[in-house]
Symmetry: C2
Subunit: 236 residues, 2 copies
DNA sequence: TTGTCAGTTGTCAGTGACTGCCATAAATTA
DNA sequence: TAATTTATGGCAGTCACTGACAACTGACAA
């Protein structure tokens, strides 16, 4: 495989430099007190360029999480179809962390630094949740595809929502300063996932056998009005 | 009871006027395309004053939801202690909607208008989720109190997180234009809550009998460092 | 090597959210 | 009516973010 070319390499370098500078400044003086100009100056780049790399100031801290979620989605798609939705999601999550663990030391510490910052900064925390919700859509679509259900069906929505809820509890459980290693993350997440498995009925994950309509709205649910057990896409 | 005095009444009037004007403008020209100056002008108030009523532009659309969540919390506190957490949360939610239904027509339509706007506007949607997460903390604290558990215990966190996840799915299920009445909201939310009840083991809600450590750190997680089955507060 | 082209960057001017400050006006209380 | 509190308006300023244009720099082919 040929290397990506000088231009591309330079871009990645700048991107990482911006992230590192931002993370350092945020940790030092706080997120709100840090201006984009400072970050740009630290990397010797114009503020305008910063916004060519990251759409918002939030994004520079959130981008690593975004990468992670992309991996999660890809890994979910790679899970065998026999695995029920929730199991597949959990395994994909573990694989994702494993992949993160394979990065070099700088990558790993950068990721952990970002996570800690996100959890301890209200503005970033909100942004992180926002991202997770956006990703939720994609996860729902993938689960629906795997299971051969409509993406409007309630069950995939519920399953994915439950999954992200569990992950969030796991992430919150990594208190301040408790996140020294990616294995800490795995441990916390696994604990919550186990609690979830323990709390749920076996097979909740998939439509009850003989339940043709699954959890509602099969193909021709007569009335097109509301309350037919489906959930529309609804956002542009 | 003596009426709140002219000053207070005037303030409430301005607040509602700002909300109404904002909701109309948002619906007309979109959230992003509407400036705070426009909203203020529509109510004949200086932009500076707008920010004395609402900390951010988002808040003017989110404030009704915020009121709702406050009610939810109060109703949860009023539920009998015998009810297990998830049940109590669900009942409190229903009561909250009932209370909203008791407002006058203007109040109700305002609320529905705001909800529809929030669901259809990415920026507002994100803000709404943010709010819900903040409220989640309070719900966790209340559940922990009811159950006599530490607010750091994993179980209340999981239960509340699951609850809000279900509510969110219910809210998303109210597609665009499908929210004509508060009863639509009840219907969608109830459907998801039923799915949740059906999916969960009876009693998952409360620590297993004889399980001293509640949901904590199963047997054999020796190290007393992180991951002891608790979740710290972690935000200032 | 050189010229062309596409992608990247800096500069600049501008919009809009949001804040602190101070003077003024209105409501409350004495 | 006078004194005090509280809401408001105006203003100047900061900061996130954007569009437009010009200068630069790798990529690539002649």
């Amino acid at each position: 495989m040929s290397r990506p070319g000088l231009r591309e390499r330079k871009k990645q370098k700048t991107r990482l430099a911006l992230i590192d500078a931002a993370l350092d400044l945020f940790a030092e003086q706080g997120y709100d007190a840090t201006t984009v100009d400072q970050i740009a100056a630290a990397v010797d780049v114009s503020p305008r360029t910063f916004f060519r790399y990251f759409a918002t100031k939030e994004d520079v801290a959130l981008s690593l999480d975004a990468d992670g979620q992309e991996i999660l989605l890809a890994e979910l798609a790679a899970r065998p179809a026999e695995e029920p939705p929730f199991t597949a999601l959990g395994r994909a999550m573990n694989t994702m962390i494993t992949i993160l663990e394979q990065g070099d030391t700088a990558d790993r510490s950068r990721f952990l630094k970002a996570r800690e910052l996100i959890e301890s900064t209200p503005a970033l925390f909100a942004g992180g949740v926002r991202m997770m919700m956006q990703n939720e859509r994609l996860l729902v679509a993938e689960i629906a595809r795997r299971e051969g259900m409509s993406p409007d069906d309630l069950l995939p929505h519920f399953a994915v929502s439950l999954f992200t809820a569990a992950i969030r509890v796991g992430l919150e459980a990594c208190g301040p300063g408790q996140l020294n290693d990616l294995s800490d993350l795995t441990r916390h997440v696994d604990r919550v996932m186990e609690l979830a498995e323990r709390s749920l009925r076996p097979g909740w994950d998939r439509p009850a056998p003989g339940d043709g309509t699954a959890s509602g709205a099969g193909p021709g649910s007569g009335e097109g009005t509301a309350g037919d057990g489906s959930v529309p896409d609804g956002r542009e």
